[in-house]
Amino acid sequence: MIETDILIIGAGPCGLFTVFEAGLLKLRCHLIDSLPEPGGQCAEIYPKKPIFDIPAFPEILAGELVENLMRQIEPFKPGFTLGESAVTIEKDQENKFVITTNKGTKHRAPIVAIAGGLGVFSPRKPPIQELSRFEDKGVEYIIKDPEMYRGRDVVISGGGDSALDWAIFLSEGVANTVTLVHRRKGFKGHPDSAQKVLDLAEKGKIRFVADAEVIGVNGSEFLESLTVKHKEDGLMEIATDHWVPLFGLTPKLGPIADWGLEIEKNAIKVNTLDYSTNISGIYAIGDVNTYPGKLKLILCGFHEGTLMVQSAFKRLYPDKNLVLKYTTVNGITGFDE
C-alpha cells in the first residue's frame, strides 16, 4: 500500500505543480498516471510545440515545461505510479481514500486531487459496426504479447511508429503472414522504419496494401476476414486471424466518471472557493474540472492547484493556522526522503 497526504490523479503540468505548492505546506504527494512518462498532454501530444502563455516564459516547449516542473518539484520527493490508471476508489475505516489501479496497485491518502486533464489516453477505435463483438476475439488495439501472433495471419492498420514497428517485428519469423493496410503510400512514422517496411514488402515478407482502409469486420465467433476499401480497386476481402488497428491514442474520462462525482460534459463540477467536488476530500483541478468561466489553460490549472492545497491543509489540520510564506524569504525546504 502506497501512503501519502495528497494522491494526485494525473501527472500533467497541473498535477506536477500541485506537488510544489503542497510541499511548501509540508504535504507529501504521490501521482498516478496512465501514461508511462509524466507530463500528460504536453508530453504525449505536443512535446515539441512552443507555449507562449506561461508567465515569465516568452516561449517554452511543452516538453521543456514538463522537465522544468519535474526539477521544481524534485525537493518534495513525489512518488509516481506510471503506466497505470486509477480505477476504483473506496473509503476505509479511518476515513481515508483507497485508490486501486488497473494493475492492482493500491494507494491510500486522506485527500485526492483529480488532475486528470481530458482523461486516460486510450487507443482510438475505428467506428466500424460490430467491431466490439470481435474485441479480444481477433481484434486487439494494443499488442501486449507478440507471441499471441505466432503462426497466425495478422493485419495491421495505421501509419505511425507502432504500426510500422510491429509490422516489421511480426514479419520476422513470428506471424504466418503480415498485411499492412494504410490509407496512403507515405507514413507518419520514422523514415527508417518506413523504408524497412517497404523493403520487407519488396521481399514479400509484408503485404502492403496502400491507399486502402478497413471498413468492415466479419466472422462468426472469431474474426475471420476484413472488408477493405481500396481507393481505385474498390472493395476486397482479406482473410485473417487478427486485426490490430493502431490509430494512436485519444483521451477519455474513463472510470473516474463512475466515482459519484458531479459531471457536466465530461468535466467534474467544482466549487471555485477551493476546487472541491461534491465528495468531501476529493478535489478536481486543471482541464478535468468545470465551473462558470472555466478556461482550460495550464496557467489556470497552476492557480487551481495552489488554492486547492490550502483547503486540503485546513481539512487535514483544522486546528493549525496557516500563514502564507513567500519562497523569497526562506527559500524552500524539501523532504529528506
Partner: protein
C-alpha cells in the same frame, strides 16, 4: 469586423449556417465549437489529433495540407479525397460560402 457565412452539415445531415469573423484568426473547428456543434478539437487546433476531421464539400481553393495535417489524417477514419482537419482551415474572405460536413465520430 468582416464576417462571412459558412455552412456546416452535422452528423445527422442538418445544415447549420454560421456567421464567422475573418479577422479573428479563427478556424472552422473553433467556429463549430463556438456554435456548440459536436466537434472535439482535443489538441486545441495544432493538427495533433484527428478529432476535428471534416469533408469539404464546396470547391473553394483551400490552403495546402501541411505534413502534420496529412500525417494526422492517418489516425482519422473514413478519410476521403476531400478530408481535412477543420482546425487547419482558417477563415478568410475567400472562404465565403464554404460547405463542410463533419466526419463520423470515433469511439
Amino acid at each position: 469586423m468582416s464576417m462571412i457565412q459558412i455552412i456546416i452539415v452535422d452528423r445527422e445531415g442538418l445544415e447549420h449556417k454560421l456567421d464567422a469573423p475573418t479577422d479573428m484568426d479563427m478556424n472552422v473547428m473553433e467556429v463549430c465549437k463556438a456554435s456548440k456543434l459536436p466537434v472535439e478539437g482535443t489538441c486545441g487546433g495544432m493538427a495533433m489529433c484527428a478529432s476535428c476531421h471534416c469533408y469539404v464539400e464546396s470547391d473553394h481553393a483551400l490552403p495546402e495540407m501541411s505534413e502534420d495535417e496529412e500525417s494526422m489524417l492517418d489516425e482519422a477514419f473514413f478519410v476521403e479525397e476531400n478530408s481535412r482537419l477543420s482546425c487547419q482551415l482558417y477563415l478568410k474572405p475567400e472562404l465565403r460560402g464554404l460547405r463542410v460536413r463533419l466526419a463520423p465520430e470515433s469511439a
